[in-house]
């Protein structure tokens, strides 16, 4: 529905351990929703798009807002880490630039202070800001249930618009981002119709690993939106975040220079699978891929 109502009735549960969350989810399955922050959940409930009988809050479980980094394990983020936590984290800004940059223009300051990364991922919007950099960084998600744990690469987590691989009895327990090679650099760019509070029309993330001028490895990912995405019957240009494998092949193993980057940008634009073949979006995909690769190149410590 288009208008908002007050929140529907629900039972609020605030368990003290992850195990309790899992057993509540096993018991109630689709009648329950996990609440990490509520910035997507509450509006959906006000619109009656979701009417869970039980809200399972993570607020009483300690240590879920952890940001842990080690040279061996890489980055580990708990499900209650907020977008602001990521934006202000020195280690993420230093070693996982693409992720930090993606949070710079996510929503507004107010939203960033409340919203969680886990919530952003589980909402599974096709144009979410955080998914392209996480895919480019090779991130994995640890999904926990009473039956055990499984790890899913972020790349495989998104099945359809607003549909993720998270099962009804599972909790997103941890986000793992592996260590990147020391001479890699990442960039996240976002083009929007207005300055803020907007999903990306074109969102591109690039993580580049250079040796001298040669591109040892590169990941180019994107998520695209249409400004009318909320209206019924509107089709998304790109239903799930995508990886520009052909654009990556264009660059991998070769020495970087402008015509090559232009070729890769063209490849990315052709490869992005808009259902609506929107010329402007296609052109912007090319422009932003080119910009992102060049900025990643400049950002890397190699000349």
């Amino acid at each position: 529905m288009n208008y908002l109502r007050r929140l529907p009735k629900f039972d609020y549960l605030a368990p003290k351990t992850v195990e309790e969350v899992c057993s509540l989810l096993s018991e109630h399955k689709e009648k329950a929703a996990v609440m990490a922050d509520g910035t997507d959940l509450l509006p959906k409930m006000k619109h009656r798009e979701m009417v869970p009988q039980y809200l399972i809050s993570l607020e009483n479980i300690p240590d879920l807002d952890r940001i842990e980094y080690s040279a061996k394990e890489g980055l580990r983020l708990g499900p209650s880490v907020t977008i602001d936590d990521i934006q202000t984290s020195q280690v993420i800004r230093g070693k996982f630039q693409a992720l930090a940059q993606a949070t710079d223009n996510l929503g507004s300051a107010q939203i960033r202070n409340l919203a969680t990364l886990a919530g952003n991922l589980c909402n599974a919007a096709p144009c979410a800001d955080t998914t392209p950099p996480l895919i480019a960084l090779g991130a994995r998600l640890k999904l926990i249930s009473s039956n055990g744990e499984r790890t899913v690469p972020v790349e495989e987590f998104f099945l359809a618009p607003f549909e993720s691989a998270l099962q009804k009895d599972e909790l997103l327990g941890e986000i793992e981002v592996p260590n990147q090679p020391s001479n890699s650099s990442g960039v996240s760019l976002k083009q929007t119709l207005r300055g803020a509070m907007e999903y990306p029309l074109v969102g591109i993330a690039v993580v580049l690993h250079l040796e001298g001028k040669v591109c040892r490895d590169v990941k180019i990912t994107g998520s695209f939106c249409s400004h009318c995405w909320r209206r019924e019957g509107c089709r998304f240009p790109c239903p799930t975040p995508f990886r520009a494998t052909r654009a990556e092949e264009t660059l991998r193993g070769k020495e970087l220079e402008e015509t090559l980057i232009e070729e890769a940008a063209q490849a990315c634009s052709r490869e992005a699978r808009p259902i609506v073949d929107h010329e402007y979006t296609r052109e912007m995909i090319k422009v932003f891929t080119r910009r992102a690769v060049i900025q990643a190149w400049q950002g890397s410590k190699q000349p």
């Binding site: 908002l4 007050r6 929140l7 529907p8 009735k9 629900f10 039972d11 609020y12 922050d37 509520g38 910035t39 509450l42 509006p43 006000k46 809050s57 607020e59 602001d84 929503g107 507004s108 300051a109 107010q110 939203i111 202070n113 409340l114 300055g195 803020a196 509070m197």
Partner: protein
């Protein structure tokens, strides 16, 4: 389901009996009579309901009141002390940074949140800082100018 909760708002403690599904915004306005915080879009997009939670601006329409327990909430009513206006409020008046005033409480709190974190923001940073507060009247120019003026007065 009803629950009795204790909230710390502007340094004062309030005990209220509320339904679990009431948002902090609703409790502030309807239960506690603190109507300075406004309900605009009710879905976190307009910033009219901005309050400070442990010093950080948040949309109070997206926080359940029961989740505000154990946190420090700061609303527009807490800005003036003993009848003396906060420098931001004074500056907004002097520079004419509001017209109808509906966005102003949220705008002031976003500004306070920003300046508390970053006492000398650039113009770009101010614009970023209030990006979550919509204003239909002023066109934002004076608001940005005012916040920068207050920042200039910061030590």
């Amino acid at each position: 389901m009803k629950q009795t909760i204790e909230l710390s708002i502007n340094g004062d403690f309030y005990e209220v009996d509320i339904d679990q599904r009431r948002t902090l915004l609703e409790v502030l306005r309807d239960n506690l009579g603190l109507t300075g915080t406004k309900k605009g879009c009710d879905e976190g997009e307009c910033g009219a309901c901005t309050v400070l939670l442990n010093g950080k601006p948040i949309p109070s329409c997206l926080l359940l009141a029961i989740q505000a327990q154990g946190k420090e909430i700061f609303t527009i009513e807490g800005l003036a002390k003993d009848g003396v206006l906060h420098p931001l409020q004074q500056a907004f008046m002097e520079h004419g940074a509001f017209q109808c005033g509906f966005c102003t409480p949220g705008m002031l709190l976003s500004a306070k949140g920003l300046l508390d974190q970053n006492p000398h923001p650039s113009k770009e940073e101010v614009i970023r800082g209030i990006a979550g507060n919509l204003c239909r009247c002023t066109g934002y120019t004076r608001i940005v100018r005012t916040i920068l003026a207050v920042a200039e007065g910061n030590p």
